[in-house]
Symmetry: C2
Subunit: 122 residues, 2 copies
């Protein structure tokens, strides 16, 4: 099954150094397609472990490429959201660890720091 939309969206996300929102993906797709198609394609790409979702500080989903996830996503890395340029980037260098009290079963982490990124603060 060679879905052109799927290939293009995947390429867009993989080759982007910032996480892309649905809106940004829609704009960057030269081959215009329906909003719903993009949503469904993103769902598939997530289910297949190619991309992961980041909730930005304004509640909008952004999508970034996975590095080394197949089925089980492990995105314990930190995300940074720039309030100037609006970019969201994955900072994979840092591995944060939390020691919650007994009873909590942590399945996912959504860690988004916001502020000014190096590019905008330079």
């Amino acid at each position: 099954m060679k879905s052109l939309t799927k290939i293009q969206i995947k390429e867009l996300i993989v080759h982007s150094n910032i996480a892309l929102s649905h809106q940004e993906i829609s704009k960057r797709l030269e081959r215009q397609c329906d909003r719903v198609t993009i949503y469904r394609t993103l769902d598939k790409l997530m289910a297949e472990g190619f991309i992961h979702r980041i909730i930005d500080v304004d509640g909008v989903s952004k999508f970034a490429a996975c590095h080394g996830c197949t089925k089980n996503h492990h995105h314990q890395h930190v995300h940074f959201s720039c309030s100037v340029c609006g970019s969201v980037t994955c900072i994979e260098e840092i591995e944060p660890g939390f020691s919650l009290s007994e009873g909590y079963k942590v399945q996912e982490m959504n860690i988004t720091l916001s502020g000014v990124c190096p590019v905008c603060s330079a």
Copy 2:
């Protein structure tokens, strides 16, 4: 200016052990008022430093009481979102520290761990 709505919403949030969404606040208000009024009241309560916003894993805003913020919010604490009961709670015991590389100016942190809370996993 003694706004009854403001007092009631503030009371709701302060006396709740979980963070409340706009929808939940609307339901719990016996004195029904317009959606817009609730949004505006929440904005005011945030500006005055009584409550803070948490973006849940689905991108919906939830609101919880502040402890010791006046103007400058400092919510470096961890939030936990339960996938079973949907509750969002503030875990103020843990103070996470990150050392980002040079150039990043961190202004806010949004740390939401998701999984199963102690009540639902018991």
